[in-house]
Structure formats: structure tokens, C-alpha cells
Amino acid sequence: MKFLIKKFRKDILENIGQFTAISLVISIGIAFFVGLTYSYDTINESINDYYQEANLADISVSFLDVSKDDIDTIKEFEEVEDVQGRFLLEGRVSSDDTITMQSYSSNNSMNIPTLIDGDYPKTDDQIILDSEYVSNNNIKIGDLITVSIGNDQVDYELTVSGVFKSAEYIYYTDDNTIPVPNHTSYAVGIVEDNFFEKLGINYTQALINLSSNADDSELIDKIDSEFSTYLQSTAKEQNVSYQMVANKLESVKNLSVILPIVFIALAAVITSISMSRQIENQREQISVMRAFGISKFDIRVSFLQYPLFTALIGTIVGTIIGVVLFPKILISTLSVLFVFPSLSSVTYIHLSIIGFLVALIAGAIATRMSCRKILKEIPAQGMRPLPPRKAKNSIVERNQLIWNKIPYAYRIIFRNISMNKKRFWLSSIGIIFCVSIMIASIGIKYAFNHIVDTEFDLYRSYDVTATLNEPSFEDKNFKNKDTVEIADLFSVSPVTYNNENTVLNIVNKDTQSNHLYNRNGEEITINDSGIYVSEKFAEENSIGKKDTIELGFNSPVIENKDIEVEILDVYKSYTNQGFYGTFELLDKHDINYPVMSVHLTTSDDAESLKEELDDDPQFSHVTVKDTQKNEYLNASSSIDSLVLIMIAASILLAFTVIYNISSINIFEKRRDIATEKVLGLTLKEINRVIFVENIFLVAFSSIFGILLSYPMYIILCEFIASDEMAFPHSLNLMSIPIAILLTLVSTLITNSFLKRKVKRIDMVESLKGVE
């Protein structure tokens, strides 16, 4: 047994390239599995802890106004375990930025902010600010800031006493139209209850924890009937931050399932091809060993060292890559959107062990199957060389015209393929997968750019969005600036359809700023006899053109109301799922929906219009569309890095497949290659044949890879896209040549590695007898 172990180590060392290649393939599979799952676990557990520590309220209920006595009344409801009143107010800070001011007192037990520096406010002239605003604006503890609140914009000077993060505010933005929160001009500040009490304002929010088994809708009904100031209630799970985080985590989790499956399956295929060839090449040695009296069991065990060591090395390397690389990339890209708590470390050893076992079992099965045939032979027969395989005419030969034009050296390739059809197919499977993953990944990158371009250039033709300080119910003229050519009104209302929360985008009937396109790519003329539904929402809810549906309004700015409307058309949108309707349509249903923002088109430069509007007190903030677009592109960096990882992994896999298969081929043909050398073929000529053979394999596999890339793309889009996103169903054709080019480059690089193998073959091999 000791001898067998020693012999096997030597075999591995002799073929260290192949051994490394297989370990590498396994490590890629493991890296995806461990890395993605570990990243998911880390973020998920940290955030769950964060929620727990903060004790996020089950429901938050908004009121126009709710007194301390009212809070006490709510406390008496049987469904309520705990209730806490809270002040909440929008204002301005540092003259220009928006701030959400809320209260916190030391006896609060829900939605507790996490102090990361300084102290909680102790007096009514102290404030703590969110960590992002503080760091983006270079604010220090002890700095004085000016907050202006209310219609009269009264200024208050407050001292910054601390910095916080909050589980309530993992994702927070004052502008729903841009996906990337702007933490430079929007702050969340927390002050003592006293601050608001001195202003003479009441609570506007009640945070409620339900008692066990309590029914939240019953409670809401009670509150609604009891208090006329009731506006709306939001369950913890409906909270924007909570939903955004849950959505993103869901897609990370999905990826952590699909990608490792793809890559581990690929690794298993490659390993089994290499293993079986390796063992078949040792057939005679195995028989000699058996003739010596070494048991089948011992031989089998000695061969199992191969999957054992490749799985072990692959697991160690893969775990390191996965644990170091993936969380870093994922967390840093997700941090564009989210403010994460400090991340706790979770264990990943169990993941490594699972990965190791999967790799080991797959490798062991491949080994066992390859050994079986050889161990079945009686030793005496196994020691005799296998009869040479019959050469076969290749299919290409049926066309003599073409065949005669093929140089002799290349005819060998076609005959080889027709002799080893099984191996050719197995090796193409690897490359087919690599090519299709590459095309799909590049396709996703293209799709994302396409989404941003169409959304911002085609669907939105305005230059600047100006958000009103507060929703306006009156008609105002926003074209009062000289340079403004078009001013269209815009609002977004939360609506429900069939218990599904979504939004209704509200525009003027004759809007020139927002454009809708139907499935055929034709522009829709927006009219006020009905609403329009996005393609994705329509498909998910099985509704469509000419359906009449009931929409429920539960917006804080108007009274709750249900209306019946007809769907006039289905529009395509990649980022904006829900409905479009007009102010005029709502008027017909007796809803006077307030204007929230204005879309402006200028004859001048957008930036200078922004500067002008920034000084206008009726606007809370003004955003240039191109800035939005750039921020959207920034948000895509998470897609970029994922695409890059997938492309890199596919290239590495393509490399290992070609390297492994070619190494086996070269090893089996070493006698022929030695003969060719003696016959006076140059290394260049010999290498060229091997190169052409690989190119042929790659070209052949690429055809199938291209066919498979479309379903692969759709699957990946499905997994990557969040709820509000829809990816275009068409794959950008440019991804195909790029992927093929990358594969060809990796073939070229592989060949430069193979050259050494060819060079090392000694011409003396040709003088030996057939083994």
C-alpha cells in the first residue's frame, strides 16, 4: 500500500499541469459556492442581528397628528404589545439639503438607532446625524448646523453630538426617481422629543409591536375608526428599506444557488474526462501490479487519492478565493445602495466541507467508473497492449473535393475526431458551457447599458427634475423662467392592485417629458380615458389591454380611495414597473392628486437651470437628468463586477478544458509526434496542427454555445433582476463576437502552454516499440 501511495504521488508530479488544472476547476466551483453563500450569510445574519438589536416595530402608523393621550389609548388595544409615539418632520439643513428629522428618547424601546460615534442628544439643541451625510459633508462632532423647518422656514441652530446608523435606514433616499441614494444632500437627523414639544407639534407616527397572534388588519381598522387623523400604516415588511434589502439579498441568494451549480457541474465533467484518460493510460501498469498480487481494493484506493487531493486542494484554494474576494466585491458594490451595519463574521467551514464532499464524490465516481473496466480484465490480458483502434474515415471525406484540399497534417485531426467521438463531445460540453456563460454575462452588461440609455434618453426627454417642497394642490405656473421651454407636472402615488403594492406614475395628458412605448416599440399617445400598465407587472398579474381593474389609493397626501379604470395599453419599461395615468383621469374620478415635482426642459444649459432653481424656495431639490443617469450607471458596478467574475471564471474553465484535453491528446500521440519530429517537421508545424485541432473544437463548440447562450441569458436575467427591474428579452448580438474572441484568446494562451509539452517529447520515443 505504501508503495502504491508513493507511485501515485510520482504519477501526479509527472503530470503536474493536469493535476493543477483539475484542482483549479474545482476551486472555481468551490469559490462560487463558498464565496456567494458566505457573502449572503454574512450580510443576511448581520442585517437580521441589526433588525433585532434595533427592535424594528412591526407596524408604523402615520397620522396627521397624534397626541400622547392617543398613544396611551392605542396602548390599551389588545392587539398592541408596545407602542411608541414619534415625531417625524421634513426640513432643510445647511440651507440647501433635505433632512428628515425624527425624535428619540432614552426610554424608547423600538427603532433604536445605533450610535457609532459621540453621544445621543441630551438637550433640545443637540442632534445626531446619519453616518453617510456626516462623512460626505465632512461634519465633525461639535459642529453647529442650521436646520430650517415648517412653511415659514424657521432656522434652528443645533450642535452635532453624535453619528448614527439605523436598521430603519439601510436604504434611504428622498428621491424615488433615482436608484442610488444621494447621501450628500439628504440627511436623517435625530433630536430629543423636547425639540418638537417646544415647537408645539404633536407626534405624527406611532410605532407598534403586536402582541402574539394579533391580527394587524383588525388593529388598523380599529385605529382608522378611532382616529380621524389616521393616514396609513406600513408593516415592517413593506418598509422601503426593508424591501430593498430583502430584494437584493434574494437575488444574491439566487445567484449563490445557480452559479455554483453551473460551475461545479462543469468541474465534474472536466474532472471525469481527465480522470478516465489518466487511468486508461495506466492500464498495463495496473495489470502488472495485479500480477504482483496487489489487491483490486488497494489499487482502487490508490487511485482515489487523485480525486481526494484535487478536491482537497481545490477546496482550500476555492475557499480562500471565495471568502476573500466575493464578500469584498459584493459588499462594496451593494454599499452604493445600502448603509450596512458593521458586518459580523459567520462560519464558512461547513460550506467548505459540503463543497469538498461534492467534489470528492463526483471525482470518486468518475475514478471508480474508469477503474471498473480495467480491473475487470484478467491481468494477463491487461498486460498486453490494447489492439490499435481502427482508423475510420471521417465524415468530411464524403466530399472528396473538400477533403483533397485539406493538408495531410490536418486530415489527422478529422480522423482523430471520428475515432474519439465521445471524448470530442465531452470536451465540447465544457466549452459550450463556457462560451454560453460568457455570451450571457456580456449580454447582461450590454442589457444594463441599454436599459439606462432607453430609460434616460428615450423615455425621459426632460433636462431637470425639480421636486416641490410640499405637494401642491393648486395650479401653478412653472414656466416662469425664461429658459424653460417645457414644464410638465409629475407625481408618484402608491397604489394597490389585487393586494399587490405598486405605484401609479401621474403625468399631464399632453406631457412632452415622459414617453411610453408599447411592445412593438411604437410610442403610446397618453390620453386620459384610462391607465397604462408595465409589461412586467401585466405579465405577473395576468392583466392586459382593455381589462378594467380596481386600483386602491393609500397615499398619505390624499384620502384612501378605490377607483375602477380601464387599461389602455401595455408599456415597456425596464426600471419602472406599475402604472401610468394622468392628472386629468384622476380628476374624473374626483381625485385631486397634488403635484410633487416638475419635469423641465430648458433651451439653455441644464446645470445653469439647476443653479437658478436651487435658489427657488418652492423646490426642495433639483436634479439634472444626466446626473441621475450617471448615478444609475454607478449603481451598475455590482453587475459589472459580477459579469467580470463570470467571464474570468469561464475563461479559466475554457483554458483548463482545452489544456486538459490537449495534454491527454499529446500524451497519447507522443510517439506520432516524435516520429514527425524525426521526419523533419518543425515544432512550429507540429504546434500548428494542435492549435488548429483546438480551434476546430472551440469553433464547433461555439456554435452550440451560441445556441445555448440565449436560454442561459434569460435564466441569469431572471436571477439578477430585482422586482422593479425587467431585462430586455433580446440578447445584444455584439456579446457573441466578444465572447468568441475571448475564447479564442484563451485558446491561444493555452497553446503557448502546450508548446512546452510538445517540445519536451524526445525523438527517442519514436524508436521504442508500441507500448
Binding site: 490499435p388 481502427k390 482508423a391 486530415r411 516520429t675 521526419l679 523533419g680 524508436l767 516499440g769
Partner: protein
């Protein structure tokens, strides 16, 4: 003089581990154009080393080798490759045909890299395989395969034919046929033929015999009355 090959004081040492093996010890001989030469020696005598050096597959440790007045031991690897391509026709003990090419293709493949070549079909008919052009090596007997190999070597129209134990893997009768073919090639195509063998009996059919023993030349002699292969028995 018509010396096509000059071996002058050639030494070849192999280092394996700490020990140095002297494979060729001051070997010198000359071969004339058109000669049929047998290099004779027991296994381990140094025959294969001479073959490797003559065939441009290895480098000398000391001494010079001239082929057509070119000192090939000074060649760099690439020049040696072209030397093998243009000057040497190699016949192996185990034929070494490319298994995926048929007889005709094997011959054409090798000579396709040469400018001044013979027609492959014609040569194959000359070696008696005109009917089996499209058979793969596995469909041919050992003797037939060796005849394809000889055709392959001749078609290149090389300066010399190097044959390494060409009958080693063949039975007596087939071996004789192959040797007969080699001597025909020697006469009809006026090719210098060097056969390396351990079979002393073959010495009688050669113009010149070079006997090698323990890495040294034991004896060189000319056969003034060389025998026809049919008259040689072993």
C-alpha cells in the same frame, strides 16, 4: 574522394546521476555515396547513439560529423530539423506510421514538406502496395507496414536512408523481403543506405560493414563479393 559521411573522432557522453557513461569513444568512419552500409553491434554497443547522431537527433560531446561536407554537429536545432527533413529518410524498427493516415497519405504527408520528391503512388507500386493505397496501417501486415515506411523514406528523395533494425519486428521471410527492397532502393535510386542491426548474417549483403563494440569501432571492412539477400540464411 566521394565521402558522403565523415565521422571524425566522435565522443558521446551521457550523464545520469553522478555517473558518466561513455556511449561513443573516439569513433571515426567514412561512408561513400551510394554505398549499402551495415552498422553491426550487440545491444548496448552504441549503434543507436550513432543512429541518433547521424539522423540529427542528438548532439556530439566531442568530434565532428560531416554530411555532404556540412558539419552537422555545428547546426542549431532548427537547421537540424531541416537536415532531417531534406537529407534523411528514416526507417524505424516499429514502422511508426501515422495510424490515422492511410498508406498513400502516410507517404504523401512525409514528402509534402520536400521540394524534390518522388510521386507517392509510383513508389508505393514499386514496393508492391499499388493495390493497398487506401488501407490504414491497422489493415496492413507488419511487412506491408514496413514497406510503406520504406516508401515514405524514399519518396522524400533524401541523401541517405537510415534504417534502425528494419527487420527487428518481422518474421524471417518478411524480413528478407524488406531487406531485398532496401537493396533495390540502393541500386535503383542510387541512395546511400545505412542499416543498423545486431544480425551478423546481414553483413554479407553490405558494401561496407562497420562493427561497433562497447562504444568503439571494432572493425571496418569492405565486402568485395557481396551476396544477394536470397543467398543469405540465418
Amino acid at each position: 574522394m566521394n565521402n558522403i559521411i565523415k565521422f571524425e573522432n566522435v565522443f558521446k557522453r551521457y550523464v545520469s546521476g553522478d555517473t558518466e557513461i561513455l556511449a561513443l569513444n573516439d569513433v571515426s568512419f567514412r561512408i561513400d555515396k551510394g554505398e549499402f552500409v551495415i552498422i553491426l553491434g550487440a545491444s548496448g554497443a552504441g549503434k543507436t547513439t550513432i543512429l541518433n547522431l547521424l539522423g540529427g537527433m542528438d548532439f556530439v560531446s566531442e568530434g565532428s560529423i560531416f554530411v555532404e561536407n556540412e558539419e552537422i554537429n555545428k547546426y542549431i536545432e532548427k537547421e537540424l530539423t531541416f537536415f532531417r527533413r531534406n537529407k534523411i529518410g528514416f526507417v524505424f524498427q516499429f514502422y511508426n506510421l501515422i495510424p490515422n493516415l492511410n498508406a498513400l497519405e502516410n507517404v504523401e504527408f512525409a514528402s509534402s514538406y520536400n521540394k524534390d520528391k518522388f510521386d507517392a503512388k509510383e513508389i508505393l507500386s514499386r514496393v508492391g502496395l499499388g493495390e493497398r493505397l487506401h488501407n490504414f496501417p491497422t489493415q496492413l501486415s507488419g511487412g506491408e507496414q514496413q514497406r510503406v515506411a520504406i516508401a515514405r523514406a524514399v519518396a522524400k528523395n533524401p541523401t541517405l536512408l537510415l534504417c534502425d533494425e528494419p527487420t527487428g519486428a518481422l518474421d524471417y521471410k518478411t524480413g528478407k523481403e524488406v531487406l531485398k527492397l532496401l537493396s533495390q532502393v540502393n541500386q535503383e535510386y542510387d541512395k546511400t543506405v545505412i542499416v543498423i542491426t545486431h544480425n551478423i548474417a546481414l553483413a554479407d549483403m553490405a558494401d561496407k560493414v562497420i562493427k561497433i563494440k562497447s562504444g568503439e569501432v571494432e572493425e571496418i571492412y569492405m565486402n568485395h563479393h557481396k551476396k544477394d539477400i536470397d543467398d543469405i540464411e540465418w
